[in-house]
Amino acid sequence: MSVSVQTGDFDAGRECADLLAGRDDVGAVASFIGVVRGDGDVAAMTLEHYPGMTEKALEAIVAEARSRWPALVRVRVIHRVGRLAVGDQIVFVGVAGGHRGEAFAACEFIMDYLKTRAPFWKQEETAEGVRWVEARGSDDEAAARW
């Protein structure tokens, strides 16, 4: 089970430990945690997603990473949905591999692809009401690097 979409929080330390457990060929674990940033007057946000497609899209991204870096040992992706406050964790991507180069690359690749290919949408809550977050062109550029 390498991909989860859930409302509940996750324990990044536990996830990193699970990436290592029972293997003696892991030399590197690269991981990423996305967090709700308190930009301007943002107090919270709600993440909508496309149930069914979300899991497929994340699994396809993980499969693409594994085909690009075949030596990867384990990959874990967790994305939360629902309402999240500033400081709450949104997403975890963890990659275990033999060496650090492939672990870093695959972790960043998965995040870049997730940002442009996984069907999640953020709606921010501010003092003036709610507003949908606009997609950033820099995310398309980041995904196009690979």
Partner: protein
């Protein structure tokens, strides 16, 4: 052909509903042609193609992706997860 149409996020709010089941007298249709048809029949927000994305059967699709009978077709704004 029967199709299951779904809308998400700001697009769902603009159109005012989460989706619709429709029937068309075609055997196949492209994403672009379906979008134009829906835009002309009550889903006006689909007329602004500037920042529109689509998926066919829960896989990202382009304007020329072919849609067949029974398919689930979703329209939504560019994604903002992560």
């Amino acid at each position: 052909m029967k199709l299951h149409i779904r809308y998400f996020a700001s697009l769902r709010e603009s159109i005012g509903r989460a989706g619709e089941d429709i029937e068309l007298p075609c055997e196949q249709i492209s994403v672009a042609a379906l979008r134009e048809h829906l835009a002309a029949h009550g889903a006006d927000a689909l007329g602004d193609t500037d920042k529109l994305r689509a998926a066919v059967n829960q896989v990202m699709a382009g304007p020329q992706t072919a849609i067949g009978d029974g398919d689930e077709v979703a329209f939504f704004p560019p994604v903002t997860g992560g």
